[in-house]
């Protein structure tokens, strides 16, 4: 019996280990290539770690390429998109969760419908719309487009979080003397922090890695975001893998920091104790 339990534990741990290795291996490879000097990249064959590691690619990317600009642009676009989408999605998610209004069914259907189109179909029309407004080749234009694409899903996400908060709580607040909006801000919103964190994280990463629209709407290095910037390491005759990977590693940093920042709110259980289970 004991041997069996021990065996199961070991098997369980091994399975998790295998999964983690599988999930993280590409990231490891990214790092490995980033620290491999150019002269060793092709000459050493396939090794888990180069015989000599160097930071020369990082140095180059940070000091001699346009990467810091891409990085800044991406930060601006992803950060603004995440914040704007989360605010809009909180309000609309709350409305969908709590109010009954005419046309609600059709509104939800319409929002679902927007999620069904392949984005490629929309590139040309969106370009046509943004171009006369002077919003192509601008970060604002990108933020608007990303916001439009992310709001529906984020709304559903927020709605599900609001649905999980008992209605009694805001009714109690309203009887205590709050307006519906005050009850929303002081009672419901603080309890939705995990949802808000999840939405922020989701939208931030989606915007951070978006390539298609960034590529189509932005020309030139000035306004390019980092996924587009990565392509600039691909030249007509060669691919500068070392620099590209170094840039990739650097691009991971803000996403990691961001999740580190919000992970405290991602843990559930904030509403424990509100109502008798």
């Amino acid at each position: 019996m004991r041997a069996k339990a021990a065996f199961l534990t070991v098997a369980h741990r091994l399975a998790i280990l295998a999964y983690i290795a599988f999930a993280l291996f590409p990231l490891f490879w990214l790092l490995k290539v980033a620290v491999t000097p150019n002269d060793l990249l092709y000459s050493e064959g396939i090794r888990l770690w180069p015989s000599r590691a160097s930071l020369e690619h990082f140095d180059f990317v940070l000091r001699h390429s346009a990467f810091p600009v891409f990085f800044r642009n991406s930060l601006i676009v992803s950060g603004s998109t995440a914040i704007v989408v989360t605010i809009l999605a909180s309000l609309s998610g709350y409305a969908l969760s709590r109010f009954r209004f005419r046309g609600k069914y059709w509104l939800v259907t319409l929002m679902l419908l927007t999620q069904m189109f392949p984005l490629v179909m929309l590139v040309a029309p969106i370009f046509k719309i943004l171009s006369p407004l002077g919003l192509t080749n601008s970060l604002t234009g990108l933020v608007i487009v990303y916001t439009a694409f992310n709001v529906p899903f984020a709304t559903f996400l927020m709605q599900s979080f609001f649905d999980g908060i008992p209605k009694d709580l805001e009714e109690a607040a309203m009887i205590d003397g709050a307006t519906q909006f005050v009850a929303f801000r002081q009672i419901i919103l603080p309890l939705t922090l995990p949802g808000i964190a999840a939405t922020l994280g989701f939208v931030f990463t989606a915007a951070w890695s978006e390539l298609l629209f960034s590529l189509m709407l932005i020309s030139g290095n000035e306004q390019a975001t980092f996924p587009v910037g990565l392509l600039s390491f691909v030249s007509k005759f060669s691919v500068d893998f070392g620099q590209m990977m170094a840039a990739g590693v650097l691009a991971l940093i803000p996403a990691c920091l961001f999740f580190l920042l919000i992970q405290r709110y991602l843990v559930q259980g904030l509403t424990a104790g509100a109502v008798k289970g």
Binding site: D176, A274, K276
Partner: protein, 355 residues
């Protein structure tokens, strides 16, 4: 404190009527209990008074002022929810003071009032805790505390004790009664526990399917139920009912299935041969012979409760219960003589109304 007038209130969800013409005048300082089976509209009525539910037709007045269109926050009433609905991200003290903070009450006053309420409810050592670190009974107290810190026009309670275990419920019941004595606040209390209703109420409102069946003092409802519904709902174990025919003549009796005649000292206010229902409470059944017309009942089951004994008996095909404190009945079996004293009988006509 204030009176609450409910005039001809109706409520429908879409085309489904939930409340039909409810009329109720609640006096200043009165403790009114709404009872009725699940789904009869008790919560709906309470929530309409609180302003959480719109009024389909009719008028609600608090302290003489029409409140139909008033937002909950402007009605100045406090409510204790069945789920307690404590704010999970606030400490006990902040939960209790929330309404005062919204009203911009001065800090010193908030501190005194909260301390006073906490003392009254025995919450002093818990003031800095979050609700999740409290037991069910403590949460219930915090919910009460939240209601009493401000002096509202009225208190509304929606089954505040139904999540507690039996002992705690008994204890909180007494505390609520004491609180009401201290504060003298107009209170409306919803429950489907009829013991709570009996012990707490100045007046009980018995409801069924959205219709008020009877309004009166607890003993009124117990002794003179207006109809079969109230008779069956109030009391535990519940009243026994026998369907049968009323016979007048020189030996008036009530005849039930199997040609069994229950002798009556005097005829009931019913026509001869009228079909009717006879009711008698288990504790009024006399377990002894009574002259030549003594009925013999079969003992089906004996249930000792400690406090007394519930005997499950039958007369012909009709089962009924009797309650006694006499422990010699613990070993009862076979048949025993029973007697239904006429003064303890209730009669209900074909429509189920008391006659």
């Amino acid at each position: 404190m204030a009176s609450i007038d409910i005039a001809n209130i109706q409520k429908s969800y879409g085309i489904h009527p939930v409340l039909h013409k409810v009329d109720l005048k609640i006096r200043d300082g009165e403790f009114v209990v709404l009872v009725g089976p699940s789904g009869c509209g008790k919560s709906t009525l309470l929530r309409m008074i609180a302003g959480l539910e719109s009024v389909t037709a009719g008028e609600i007045r608090i302290a003489g002022k029409r409140v139909n269109e008033l937002a909950p926050k402007d009605r100045d009433i406090a409510m204790v929810f069945q789920s307690y609905a404590l704010y999970p991200h606030m400490s006990v003290a902040r939960n209790m003071s929330y309404s005062l903070r919204l009203r911009k009450t001065p800090k010193e006053r908030i501190a005194t009032v909260v301390a006073g309420a906490a003392a009254k409810l025995g919450l002093d050592p818990l003031l800095e805790r979050r609700p999740r670190a409290l037991s069910g009974g403590q949460r219930q107290r915090v919910a009460m505390g939240r209601a009493i810190v401000r002096q509202p026009k009225a208190f509304l309670f929606d089954e505040p004790l139904s999540n507690l275990d039996a002992r705690l419920r008994e204890q909180m019941r007494a505390e609520i009664k004491k609180l009401h004595k201290d504060l003298g606040a107009t209170s409306i209390y919803v429950t489907h526990d009829q013991i709570e209703a009996m012990t707490l109420a100045d007046r009980i409102v018995a409801m069924n399917a959205g219709v008020v069946q009877q309004v009166g003092s607890p003993l009124d409802l117990y002794d003179r139920p207006a109809n079969l519904f109230v008779a069956g709902f109030i009391g535990s174990p519940g009243m026994n009912f026998f369907e049968g025919t009323h016979h007048v003549g020189d030996r008036p009796r009530f005849e039930i299935a199997g040609d069994i005649g229950i002798p009556l000292d005097a005829p009931a206010p019913l026509a001869n041969n009228a079909k009717a229902t006879l009711g008698i409470r288990p504790e009024h059944v006399v377990l002894a012979g009574h002259g030549p017309e003594t009925l013999l009942a079969t003992v089906d089951l004996v249930e000792p409760t400690g406090f007394g004994i519930i005997l499950h008996l039958s007369l012909g095909r009709a089962g009924f219960k009797a309650f006694t404190n006499d422990r010699s009945f613990l070993t009862a079996s076979g048949t025993i003589p029973v007697h239904f004293p006429t003064h303890a009988l209730h009669f209900f006509d074909g429509e189920g109304n008391r006659v």
